[in-house]
């Protein structure tokens, strides 16, 4: 096929350029495994996805398609799924903001307040990472149990009169954002911690010495100096959250009205087997995130910090 001829050629071109820049064949040899890996597992699938997104569905055979240049795929998915797109970015944005609000104090406490108490610090860091010892799916399912209509949370809220007998938590946008926030907190906390851990405490003292109240010192000294951590944390949260299809799935925390774009892509690929549309959605998601992220980094003026 055309792809087969195209891809190795582009891989070699990249390898040659890299070798010339670094100078010397040792660098080229050292780079080779990584370049091969990227070529095989990033460039090939990407080109394949791009070609698929312009494909034409075979009317004769369910799930089959021809390669072609069908722009209409993009138009169709935008017209049909723009609400899910918007919802994805809205949920991801909310989850990012909540994760930042929750993670910052944790990271500050571990990285600045108890910096000298190494034992406690290591213990808390392990606790931040501890959720990773249990599968992401299992943890999300556990939350489904906890938040379910028969679970303790709904029971307690109904007993206290905050929820009516017909109200639910699971299946709502709240539950999805809650799940996203929960799942991405470690990804937010760790970069923030790394950034705050490097903060020179004497600068905080200097702030106080120069008549800045603790709040002013935080706003003018501590927070600006932790911006690199804030940027990487928010990116590490926002990008996967926008494409997430687990939390919003009806098998987990989502409901009929909470589908995110990841859920649409999943069902297009695995259920309705409309590969061209699934591919077009994936490419669009990637493109939108790329634009968002570059705009975000440009705006925060921190290109050099990443």
């Amino acid at each position: 096929m055309a792809i087969a001829a195209l891809v190795p050629a582009s891989g070699q071109a990249t390898g040659g350029a890299g070798a010339k820049r670094r100078g010397g064949w040792i660098a080229a040899v050292l780079l080779l495994p990584g370049l091969l890996y990227l070529a095989l597992f990033f460039i090939v699938p990407f080109v394949s996805l791009l070609l698929t997104s312009f494909g034409i569905n075979d009317p004769e055979e369910y799930g089959a398609f021809y390669y072609g240049f069908e722009w209409q795929n993009y138009v169709d998915v935008i017209v049909e799924y723009w609400p899910q797109f918007l919802r994805s970015f809205w949920y991801a944005l909310l989850a990012t903001v909540f994760a930042l609000l929750i993670s910052y104090p944790i990271a500050y406490f571990i990285g600045v307040r108890i910096r000298e108490r190494k034992m406690l610090r290591n213990l808390l860091l392990v606790l931040v990472i501890a959720p990773f010892f249990i599968s992401f799916l299992l943890r999300t399912l556990a939350w489904k149990q906890i938040l379910s209509d028969e679970g303790p949370v709904v029971g307690a809220l109904q007993f206290l009169g905050f929820m009516g007998p017909q109200d639910h938590i699971t299946g709502t946008g709240f539950a999805v954002v809650f799940g996203l926030t929960y799942n991405f907190i470690p990804f937010m906390t760790l970069p923030l911690f790394t950034s705050l851990d490097r903060l020179d405490k004497r600068l905080i003292e200097a702030g106080g010495d120069l008549y800045a109240s603790p709040a002013q010192t935080f706003l003018r000294v501590t927070f600006p100096l932790s911006i690199p951590g804030v940027i990487s944390g928010t990116l590490l949260t926002f990008i996967p959250a926008a494409g997430d299809y687990v939390n919003a799935s009806q098998s987990f925390l989502g409901g009929p009205g909470t589908a995110m774009i990841g859920n649409v892509i999943q069902s297009k690929f695995l259920i309705t087997v409309n590969y061209p549309q699934a591919a077009a959605l994936s490419i669009l998601l990637m493109a939108v995130i790329l634009v968002f992220v570059s705009f975000y980094i440009r705006r925060s003026g921190t290109e050099d910090l990443l």
Partner: protein, 394 residues
């Protein structure tokens, strides 16, 4: 709210019965100190002596375990650092790396909502001759320039009290001399009260009006640099500030304003008013440059002490003077500085010499002086390494 006690003149600082303990050790045993407004006061001591802790207590970065701190007569013991009329020039400068030099200097003024913060910041930068780098970032400046920015950032606020925490420690010798002069000039120009913490005795002596020598959480002695040098009251001060020859002795008689004592190498006297202890076991001290060497036994009468003969074991030429080590029987090595009035050393190793000094140049210390002096020499030796530890712990 924070604007109490600011003005164009300094304020008194009074430390009243200050004690500070950290888990596991006592940084300050007991400290009573009054620093009059407008003076340049130096706290001098080896690392770990409690001088940095004292400074941090005044700045409000640490809370005293006991005692009160008064600035301009007002009790500020419980006042938060950002409300104290005090500014610090930190040892590490602690400039804000994400702000321009100008923003760094204007920071304090802006927090206090001073109207012409920017123009005042420019003035302060002009004072340290750095206005041309106002728009740069701290990382683009040399160490000496950063130090001057740190100074401008503190001085611009016209604090009642300026605290300097070994601010010249990181500079090379030449820049250090230059900054010492600049600091002194700024102090007399703006009339602030300066509290300078340092382990560099030369720096303390050249800059300060009053020096307090601290050791193990206490002030050993306080006075003008000259008083401290010429009349040390403890073995620690005698050895930490310059060099001293300390001779253990037993008092044999007192009278006529003199204390006369027997050392293992002969009888010596010190004026009674220059002696801390006047009976029993004492230590007689004398500075090396006060000593005179003679090739024959000098006939000087009752105004001088004479020891000898001893043997020169080492003569080292140091430019303006020659440093001799004389091995005095029964006493051990005695250090003598002789000015080079002729070319080169007058005595060579192995020569037989007598050592003499005017009685009123000596000083008398108590019996423990020699042991305390050893303590001072030791702490001076490990000062650079332990210095960081001091900063960290504080």
């Amino acid at each position: 709210m924070a604007a109490t006690g600011f003005g164009d003149s300094g304020a008194d600082l009074e430390l009243d019965g200050i004690r500070k303990t950290f888990p596991g050790f006592t940084a300050i045993e007991e400290l009573d100190l009054v620093i009059p407004a407008g003076s340049f006061f130096a706290l001098l001591g080896p690392s770990g002596c409690g001088k940095t802790t004292t400074l941090r207590l005044v700045a409000g970065l640490e809370e005293p375990t006991a005692g009160r701190i008064l600035i301009g007569g007002k009790d500020v013991t419980a006042v938060k650092p950002h409300k104290r009329p005090v500014n610090t020039v930190f040892q590490s400068y602690a400039l804000f790396p994400h702000m321009s030099i100008l923003d760094n200097v204007a920071f304090g003024l802006k927090r206090r909502k001073v109207a012409d913060a920017v123009s005042r910041a420019h003035e302060a930068l002009a004072l340290v001759e750095l206005d041309h780098v106002a728009s740069r970032r701290p990382s683009q400046l040399s160490g000496g320039q950063q130090q001057r920015v740190a100074l401008a950032r503190a001085v611009v606020n016209r604090p009642a009290l300026l605290l300097l925490d070994e601010p010249l420690g990181a500079l090379d010798l030449k820049l250090r001399r230059q900054m010492q002069l600049e600091l002194k000039a700024i102090q007399s120009e703006v009339g602030l009260t300066f509290l300078h913490v340092t382990h560099d005795q030369e720096e303390a002596m050249t800059m300060a009006d009053t020096v307090a020598v601290m050791n193990r959480g206490r002030i050993e002695q306080l006075g003008s640099p000259q008083d401290l040098y010429e009349l040390p009251k403890t073995g620690f001060v005698a050895a930490f500030l310059g060099q001293s020859n300390l001779l253990p002795a037993t008092v044999v008689s007192t009278g006529g304003g003199l204390v006369t004592a027997r050392t293992a190498g002969g009888i010596v006297s010190v004026p009674e008013e220059r002696a801390v202890a006047t009976s029993g076991e004492i230590t007689v001290g004398v500075r090396p440059e006060k000593l005179t060497l003679s090739g024959a036994e000098p006939q000087l009468g009752s105004t001088h002490n004479v020891l000898g003969p001893g043997r020169i074991v080492d003569a080292s030429f140091t430019g303006a003077s020659t440093q001799y080590i004389v091995d005095m029987p029964g006493i051990g090595p005695i250090t003598v500085f002789e000015q080079n009035m002729v070319f080169g050393a007058v005595y060579s190793a192995g020569a037989e010499v007598w050592v003499s000094w005017r009685i009123d140049h000596g000083f008398g210390l108590d019996a423990e002086a020699k042991a305390e002096a050893a303590d001072a020499d030791e702490s001076e030796l490990d000062a650079p390494a332990a210095d960081d530890a001091d900063g960290e712990a504080a």
